[in-house]
Symmetry: C2
Subunit: 336 residues, 2 copies
Amino acid sequence: MKKYIGRQTVKFANPPSVLAAASVVGPKEGEGPLCDFFDVVSPDVLFGMESWEMAESEMVRRTAALAVQKAGLHMEDIRYMLAGDLLSHNSGSNFGMRSFGRPFFGLYGACSAMGKGLGLGAMLVDGGYAEYVLASASSHFCGAEKTFRFPLELGTQRPPTAGWTVTGCGTVVLAAQGNGPYITAATTGVIVDMGITDANNMGAAMAPAAVDVLINHFKDLNVGPSHYDAIITGDLGFIGRDLLLALMDDAGYDLHKNLGDCGMLIYDRAGQDVHAGGSGCGCSAAVFAGYLLDRMKKREINRLLFVPTGALHSVATVQQGETMPAIAHAVVIENK
Amino acid sequence: MKKYIGRQTVKFANPPSVLAAASVVGPKEGEGPLCDFFDVVSPDVLFGMESWEMAESEMVRRTAALAVQKAGLHMEDIRYMLAGDLLSHNSGSNFGMRSFGRPFFGLYGACSAMGKGLGLGAMLVDGGYAEYVLASASSHFCGAEKTFRFPLELGTQRPPTAGWTVTGCGTVVLAAQGNGPYITAATTGVIVDMGITDANNMGAAMAPAAVDVLINHFKDLNVGPSHYDAIITGDLGFIGRDLLLALMDDAGYDLHKNLGDCGMLIYDRAGQDVHAGGSGCGCSAAVFAGYLLDRMKKREINRLLFVPTGALHSVATVQQGETMPAIAHAVVIENK
């Protein structure tokens, strides 16, 4: 049966249910406005480990175990684990999931990882390949700074356009049966490269990718922005959000009423010195798993368009003067 | 409809057809015994570019364009592109595919990438989410050495257990309709970590992962090794292959008659100074797209079990003394 529609969207015949979700974050995220929505706020940014890489892996492991526990399942019930992060060679996910012994697909889409995991995971469940799928995305401020920017010890000054990588992990368990909310459609993004070369301005690199996937989503499903109670992008931050609104205005879509961004939600901009806002795979993942699903359960949001965004550069490509390709994926989550 | 069986296998209700495949390799691979099977042997290891990273991206771009052309399609016909490589943050795939404007899922499974792409890609086609899916995997010797080992300019001596990363890309177009060969089943691997810490002995790290997926594949489908004309692992090389045979003997499975390994096939061990054999995502991808599919078309192999293997360490985790997790995925390809 053909389940695809338009240019890049699928509609699910048997919409997978979000059975459970878990979020684990670091201390700075615990000082932010969404503190009460996270399952665990670790006071220790090292999560008891000896390196940033192993700290992120431990956070991934704990979040996955908690999500499965909250779903009332055992790890052996999980048919596939999909996981992505920001460390080199996906090591946060690979090391975090290595003890579970479940079939594993590592994903790389930078900060769009949770969008990929939800979209692909929903296809695996809806398609009959799994009863339960786990999707995880994570990032760690210290590991990301070390990887992409400067050693923390240098205390390098950050430009105002830079985001603050979230130390956090969000994990979702999707199921063939459940009481919702349900993943009803997914629009997979294309790579968009508008020539941005400033790795400290990822909002500018990612906004055009979000615009592209939003416009194609609206066209494919023949709906407009007002179809959704909320449209929440991943980690565009304050600068990327303004660019998105302007570009969507130009394209004839008014998102001023219902657009939000996880990178703007997770920190108190004035009080937490985060410049352009939160970023990292863990930003949209933890905000989705913690805050957004809670609002859906309380029926404050009944139809959500969730749009994680990612910048697909590496350290080497930036140093070589290459531009930054970006991608965004749109996932529809609905209450019945 | 439930399509999963046993612990970690799926059987396809409508087996996707391998519509076309393309392989592009570097000069050293062109001097090897499989030379005549590759579509393009580039005399220039830089592929006309100025860095190893952009060289790999250009190789990825050319191979994808060629595969779509050989399939008699246009790039717009491709519903999803799945691609993985060995560079940091998947940049070979991200930059290689950025010009095509097609929905994109970046995968990370190190050298198991082609196994992931074929397995997931077949699910997307069989599940009704796509008519055509493209799966790509690539690696570049110089980019991989720079990333994982030492700058080439140092001329560092290589231990005999080390593999030689293949400069190559293999790309496959899967289709809902076609004349085969067909992808009939896929067993997704779990992460296996047997405590190997020597990044110059990846065969030893990966062999236990291949053993695990093979045994579970045989159990899930209730078949034995003799069910297949050939069982071809990804890049275990000479040392990993011997370990695999010994471990499978211990487990009661005789693979001596029909086991092969892409890393042993692609180079002339005596004449090309490759120590333990070929490795890298591009090794199994190019050997599959070039050589193995040709043997299937000539009906020299009618039932193939293809088992790409990957080591999931990063530079940071190795430097921190961590062990190397590994994974392998098994895909069944059959002529009618």
